[in-house]
Structures are given as C-alpha cells and as structure tokens.
Amino acid sequence: MLRFTIRRLLQVIPTIIAVVLLIFVIFSVVPGSFASSLMSDGRGGADADMVARINEQFGLDDPVHVRFFDYVTGLLQFDMGESFRFRQPVTEVIGDRIWASLKLSIAAMVFAIVVGVPLGFIAALKPGSILDSITMIGAVSGLSMPQFWLGLLLMYFFALILGWLPSFGYGGGDFKYLILPAITLGVTPLALLARTTRAGVLEITNEDFIRTAHSKGMSNSRVIRWHLTRNVMVLVVTTIGLQFGSMMGQAVVIEKLFSWPGIGTLLVDSVAIRDIPVVQGTILVIVLWFLFINTFVDIIYAAIDPRIKQT
C-alpha cells in the first residue's frame, strides 16, 4: 500500500510540471505586453517611459527562458509574483479568498451527497418505477441545465419573491448566504451521484455474490447493508472525489453570479482587467487542487477496493 501511494505520488509530478509549463506558455505568447495594453485601455496612449518602467519592474523584458526559470523558482518558494491590481503578492490575494471557495465546494458536495446517493439507491431498488423514472429524468435535466441559470432562478424565487434568503454576497460568513450558491453548485454532482449510485446498485444486484448471499438465506436488509452498500461505496467515493476536485473550476461562474468572494470571482475579475499574475496563480491553484484530489481518490480507491491489486 505504501509503495502504491508513493508511486502514485511520483506519477503526478510530470503532470504538474507540464501544467506549470503550459500555463506559463499560454500567458507568455500574448502579443503586446501587459504594460502597453494597460496604457492603451482608453486612458490615453501608451507613454513609452511608463511602459519601460512597468516592463522593468515586472521583469517583462527578460528573455522567455529566464522568465520561466524565475517563475518556477518563485513557485517552489510559494511566490507567484505580485498582483498588478492589488500591489500584493498573488499568494496573499489567493490566500484571502481560498477559504470562501473551499467552504462553498464542501457545502455543495455535502448537499449533493445527502440528496443524490439515497435518491439513486431508492431508484435502483425498484427499476422502472415512477420514482426511478422521475429520478433519472431529473438527473439528465440537472446535467443539461446551465447552473448559473438555475442559480438566477433560485435567487429570483427564494430571495427576491419569497425573501427567505439573501440574494447574493458573503454576509461575513453567515450560513444563510451559503445556501443558494451551494445548492446551485451542488446540482451537477447531485445528478451524477444519483446516476452513478443507481447504475452501481443495478450492476451489483446481478453479481454472483449477491445471488449467493440471497440463496444462502441472508435477509434482504442484511444483503443490502453488508454486500451492496460496501461495493457501491467504492463507485460513489470515486465520483465524489472527482466531482469535488473539479468543483472549484465549476464554481467560477456560480461565485460570480452570487458575488461570492472566492477565487472564482477573483479569476473572472482578473481576466477582465488582465491582471495576469493573478490569473496564472488562480488557474494553477484550481488545477493543483484537481490533481491533488484525483491522486488522493486513487489512493483511497486502492485502499478500499479489495479487487485492485496493490503492486
């Protein structure tokens, strides 16, 4: 198990290096420097002195390979450069907002699990029933619906018409402010979880060991508790992990819709004003989070599923 863990951790390193390189390359091939685009933003033409000063200050005149080397050495020391907008280290800017994003992801995931898994389970126990059909239609709708539209409708209905919940903002961490964004963000994983759980239960009900358990006189509830749950859990945990990993990426639009002060809103705002160091930094954090969770899920998966050979 330890060897598997170490090997899996080592495997992810080349991917991380490639991602860093890719992100760096994308933002280095930008035609026209940041300084000239800043100057020509309708606030008068580019002042040559000013451009030179900004280029100098941010080291934008250096050759590409020097900048890449600087960037990587910086990253290794948790230095992602300085934000053009905030005049603050990018790590600090992101650090101030990451908790809000994490909180939203966790809340959305909890909502998705608590509703999605039981729903898929119940649907699978009576395939073809009305409840099953409704669940599956709901799931495919949930996967096809633009989340931000659903969020907009929820905001309209629960905040503006009924007045039960605040429509947007963070409210200094008040739980009430978390409900609508979390439900909105949780709909896609909810739909996926319901689908996966149902498919997993259906598949496993037909397996030999379930039939054996039944035929040797095990009670129905015991079969469900003992065999079914344990085997379906493997599938469900994987889905949860993958969804949780990609959630920060999906949250970008939802955060912006609800003016949630997380890194998603930060990313969109920084793109709009071309605050490139922050854009690079947030994207890197989102991707690293995704990779970290994926690797973690793989390791957990190997630990709980006896069918996987741990070589």
Partner: protein, 274 residues
C-alpha cells in the same frame, strides 16, 4: 426486437427544433434581434405581440432567442469539429505509430484532462479577448482529450485485425490506412462523444458569455442575454427565463441524443462519462 429508444427520439426532436429555429430564424420572426430596439416597449411581459416579452431596450426576447440559436449551434458544432479533428488525428496516429509519439500524445492528453476545460477556455479567452473567433479557438482546443482516448483505444484493438494488416501488405500508406481502414470503424463511439461534446460546448459558450468573456452584447448570445436579464430580474423575469430555457433545451437535446445513440449503436457499451 429492439426496445423503443426514448432518449434517441426525444433528443432528436429537441435538437431538430433548435436547428429549425436557428436556420429559419428570419422566417419565424419579422423583427431584427439587434436593431429593433424600441424603448416605448421596454420590459413588456409576454403577450400576443411579444411572445417571450421584451428586454430593457424593448427588443423582442423571442426574436433574440431564435437568433441566439445560430450563435450557440455555430459555436457548439464548429468547436466540436475542431476537437474531433485534433482528437482523432492524435489518437489514431499515436496508437498506430506508437513509440515516443504515443508517449507524447498520452502525456499531453493527461495534462489536458488535468485542467478543467472551462478554466482552460477561460484562460485562452483572457488572451484572445472576447468574440466568436476566440470562442471557437478556445472551445475547439480544450475538449479533445476524450475523443483522443477513444480513438487511441479503438486503433489499438483494430491494429491487429486481418484487414488492416492486409492493407499494409498491399502497400497502402500509413495515412491511407488510418483514413480508410481505421477511421470508418470507430465512427459510432466518436459520434456519441461528439454529440455530447456539442452540448458541453453550448453550455461553456453560455457560461463564458454570461461572464462577459464570450460573445459581447448587443449580439444575441443566450449567455450574454442572461447577464443583462440578471440586472432586471425583478421587473422582467421573462428576459431571464427564456434564454436559459433555450440553453437547457438545446443541451438536453444533445445529451439525450448522445445517450440514445450510444444505446442504439451498442446496447452493451456503457462508457462512463465525466
């Protein structure tokens, strides 16, 4: 006997409705989506004259939704074609030639899978700036990894087949073998993943335009229409309901069509999505 494939039919009908709306937009409405603004009629609720109501500038929401279908479908289909071409060329050639090329393609695919495609597209839009061409590039370059994986694994299993070896013995060039022997034999799964990909691209376009990074106003993109509608949702909720419903119907259509095609082509095949 084959069971009635509800997904395929429902998906097909929904998709067809959207395509008809997009193609025949000028015949289905007499107004212009951009220029027929009239503040006299601003924020009118749905009525016989304005089926879906009007927006803050008095433009007909029905007309804008119809023309919006053109943008969504163009972005969805063109970007998916780019993705398919990239994914197929890389996937087939990697598996066929093997060696360092295969390793490189595999590595690249893994990196692409590690970056959420919406985030990747957002990064590209950040550099290229808003607009239709940027959108086609951003969405066309970021969602080919699944196509590539399927093309690669299909090629690996087809490579050993007698007819492929025969073609090789006959002196067919590698490119000709890929084009005439390998490609036609993976059309099914590629069609399924492409159909689902169009739905995903439509959703991504809507999200990017909603954030102000995709299609910019006044052009009638469904996502951009929702940005405007957000500000006046209390006064004119219809301006938010209908464009979103259009996105929903379109994406649902393509998703059902994809699921239906998968069941139709191979009832046993159950590839896991996402």
């Amino acid at each position: 006997m084959r069971r009635f494939n509800l997904n395929l039919w429902l998906g097909g009908v929904l998709t067809l409705i959207v395509i008809v709306g997009a193609v025949f937009a000028p015949w289905l409405t007499s107004l212009d989506p951009v220029f027929d603004a009239n503040l006299m009629y601003a924020e009118e609720p749905p009525s016989g004259q304005f089926w879906f109501g009007t927006d803050e500038q008095g433009r007909d929401v029905y007309t804008r939704v119809l023309y919006g279908a053109r943008i969504s479908l163009t972005v969805g289909i063109v970007s998916q074609i780019i993705n398919s071409v990239i994914g197929l060329s890389l996937g087939i050639s990697a598996a066929y030639w093997g060696g360092w090329w295969d390793d490189l393609v595999n590595g690249l695919t893994n990196v692409m899978l590690a970056i959420p495609s919406l985030i990747f597209a957002l990064a590209i839009m950040a550099i290229l700036g808003p607009g239709l061409p940027s959108l086609l590039i951003a969405l066309g370059l970021t969602n080919w990894s699944w196509t590539c994986r399927i093309a690669r694994s299909s090629t690996l299993s087809l490579k050993g087949q007698g007819y492929v070896q025969a073609a090789s013995t006959l002196g067919y060039s590698d490119i000709r073998i890929m084009w005439t022997q390998l490609l036609p034999n993976m059309v099914g799964p590629i069609l399924v993943i492409s159909t689902l990909g169009i739905g995903a691209a439509v959703l991504a376009e809507a999200a990017l335009s909603f954030l102000g990074l995709g299609i910019r106003p006044p052009f009638p993109s469904w996502g951009a229409m929702l940005t405007g509608a957000r500000e006046l949702i209390v006064i004119a909720p219809w301006a938010a309901v209908f464009p979103g419903l259009a996105i929903f119907v379109t994406v649902l259509g393509f998703n059902l069509l994809g699921d239906g095609l998968r069941d139709y082509l191979d009832p046993h095949m159950r590839t896991r999505q996402q």
